[in-house]
Symmetry: C2
Subunit: 327 residues, 2 copies
C-alpha cells in the first residue's frame, strides 16, 4: 500500500450485466462500503446510461467521503476490452451491441478524470481473486467462470493475459468434441467446452440423457425445457443417479480441459467461479479425478482446485473494483 | 542497449542436445563471433561435462576478447528449468536423466560468477525469435517447434510464460484425439498433438496410410520403417498425392490446435521452428486454412503464421544466447 492509496482508500467497481449495472465503493480489504444499481437496458444510448450511472454513483460517493477518497474505477463487462477501454459489440446490451462504446473514457470524463479501466467479467473475476480472494500471493493461476457461458481469466507471471488485442482468455471456446458430433455453441462453432460445461450445457446434457434413455430420474417430473443446472444439482443431492452422472460427465470434461490448460501455463491453481460452483464436491471431485487421469506427468499433483473465495452476491462487483487497484 | 551492454558486447549461448553441445559467442545483432562443440554423451558425470565445456569455451572466449567482454550465458536444454537453473531428469542425457543437475550454477562458478540462465529448447527458440528473429517488437506470440517432438514457447505481455514450476509451454501435449483411438505418445498418454504433428508423427501417418490403403505412392519404394518426414516432403514436392495428403492432415491438425491456443493468449503470431518447416507452403497453407476455419470469430484474421527467422544451422545456439540478454 503506497502513500497515494493511503490518501485515497476507495475504488469504484461496476459489474455491468445484461440486466443490472451494480456499483460498489470498495476498500483495500474488499469491504463494500456502499452499493447502488440501475437497470442496464432502461436507456437508449450509452450517454443516457452513463448519465443515470453518475446520478446513482453521486449518492454513494458522498456517503463514503467524496470523490477525493476514490483512487480509480474498474468496470467488468461482457466484451470489455482492456486495451481500448471500450465495450465492443456486446450482444446482450442494446446500446453497445452494434458498436464499440468507450465506456472507460466516458466515466472518467464525468468523474473528474478519474482513472478508469475496463475488462471482461471473467478477467475481472481473476483480478478479484488475486486482490481479495483465494489467489492472493499467486502469480500463475486460471479462473474459470461457470455461468450461462464458460469464461476465463488467465494470470501468468502475476499479470493478466490480455493478448495482442485485449481479447485473450476465452477458454470456454477450446474444442472438446471435434467433428460433426460436437454440440452447436453460442459462438457459432461446434464442440466448445462452453456447450457442455456451462450451466446451459449441464441442462442440455440433462435433456439429452432424458430423451435418449428411459432411465428413471427425479428430473422426469419436470418439463424438459425448464430444467436448469440447479435442478440437476438438487436432484443429485437427493440421490438421483442420472443427475449425478450429469455432473460426473461435466466434471470429467472440465478436468480434461484443465489438463490441456496446464500445458500452457502450468498454473498453481484452477479457481472456479459462478453459480454452478454451488454444486460443490458434486462438480469438483470429478474435475480433480479427471485432471489427475489426463494431465501430463510433469504437472501431476502441482495444481490446486479451488472454489472462488469471493462472496457470491458481491463477487462480480469486487472483481470489477479489483481492476481499479491495478491501474 | 545500456552502458553495461556497451562494455560487455557478447553473450555465450549453449545449445545442449542429446548428441552435441554447441557453444557460440554472440553479439547483440545475433552474429555468431565464434563457435565450438563437444559431444554431450562422452562424459560420465555432469562435472566431467562441465570441465570439458570450460576447456572448449576458453579458446573461443579468448578469441573474442576475453571473459570481460561477456555479459552472461544462456543455456537451452531439454527439461531445462528456468526457475531452478537445473536440467531435471532429461531422458536423453545420461548424466542428467536420473537427477536434477544445477547446470547454471556450475557454469557460473567456473566462469567468474557470470550470470547464467537455463531454459528448455523451445523457450530458448521463443526468446531467440524475440531478440533476433521474426518476433522482434512483438509482445504476444507462440513459437511451435516441429522436430522429433512438438515443443512450444509462449510469450505473453512481452514475457515468456514459465508457469508456477518453470515447466509451462508444453503445447505438444494438448490432446487432439480423445478416447481410445488416440495415438500413443512418447509422454505415455494418448492423442497428443506431438504424436501426430512432430516429424516422427508425420512418418507414422505415412506408414499408417500406406498400410491401411493400397493407394499408389512414391513412398512405397521405401522400407516403411525408414520413412522420415523429409521423405514425405520430397515425395509431395514430386507431386505424390498421398504425400501431399499427409501434410494436409498434419497442417489441418496444427491449425485446429492453434485455433484453441488463440483462446488462451490471442497471439499476434504463431511462429514455426525446426526441420519440418523446410516443407514450406506444403505445411503452412493447410495450417492457415484450417486455422481460419476453426478459430473463433473474434480472433479471425488477427494472427500471422510465420516461419522462424533464425538461421537454421545456428538457430538453437542463437536461441540459447538470447536468454542471456534477458538476465
Amino acid at each position: 500500500m503506497n502513500e497515494q492509496q493511503g490518501i485515497k482508500p476507495h475504488v469504484i467497481g461496476l459489474d455491468l450485466g445484461g440486466t443490472n449495472a451494480v456499483f460498489g465503493i470498495v476498500d483495500q480489504r474488499g469491504d463494500i462500503k456502499a452499493t447502488t444499481a440501475i437497470k442496464t437496458q432502461n436507456y437508449d444510448s450509452a450517454e443516457a446510461f452513463v448519465n443515470a450511472s453518475i446520478n446513482a454513483l453521486q449518492a454513494i460517493i458522498e456517503q463514503t467521503g467524496g470523490l477525493e477518497k476514490i483512487k480509480a474505477m474498474g468496470i467488468g463487462a461482457p466484451n470489455g476490452n482492456y486495451y481500448t477501454g471500450a465495450i465492443e459489440y456486446a450482444p446482450n446490451i442494446k446500446w453497445a451491441h452494434e458498436t464499440a462504446v468507450p465506456l472507460a473514457k466516458m466515466f472518467s470524463e464525468r468523474l473528474g478524470n478519474l482513472p478508469v479501466s475496463i475488462t471482461n467479467d471473467a478477467n475481472a473475476a481473476a483480478i478479484g481473486e488475486m486482490v481479495y480472494g483465494v489467489a492472493r500471493g499467486m502469480k500463475n493461476f486460471i479462473v474459470i467462470t461457470l455461468g450461462t457461458g464458460v469464461g476465463s481469466g488467465v494470470v501468468a507471471n502475476g499479470q493478466l493475459v490480455y493478448g495482442s488485442d485485449g481479447m485473450a482468455g476465452e477458454l470456454g471456446h477450446v474444442t472438446m468434441v471435434r467433428g460433426k458430433e460436437g454440440r452447436l455453441c453460442g459462438c457459432g462453432r461446434t464442440g466448445c467446452l462452453e456447450a457442455y460445461c456451462s450451466a446451459t450445457g449441464v441442462a442440455r446434457t440433462a435433456r439429452q440423457l432424458l430423451e435418449e434413455t428411459d432411465r428413471p430420474s427425479l428430473l422426469r417430473k419436470m418439463n424438459p425445457a425448464d430444467i436448469t443446472s440447479l435442478d440437476v444439482s438438487i436432484a443429485a443431492g437427493q440421490g438421483d443417479q442420472l443427475a449425478r452422472e450429469i455432473y460426473e460427465f461435466t466434471g470429467k470434461m472440465l478436468g480434461e480441459a484443465c489438463a490441456d490448460f496446464a500445458t500452457f501455463c502450468s498454473p498453481e491453481a484452477f479457481i472456479f467461479f459462478g453459480g454452478m460452483t454451488k454444486a460443490g464436491d458434486l462438480l469438483m471431485e470429478p474435475i480433480k479425478k479427471s485432471y489427475d487421469e489426463h494431465v501430463m506427468n510433469v504437472y501431476k499433483g502441482k495444481a490446486q482446485f479451488l472454489i472462488s473465495g469471493l462472496d457470491g452476491a458481491s463477487a462480480a462487483v469486487l472483481g470489477a473494483s479489483a481492476i481499479a487497484w491495478e491501474i
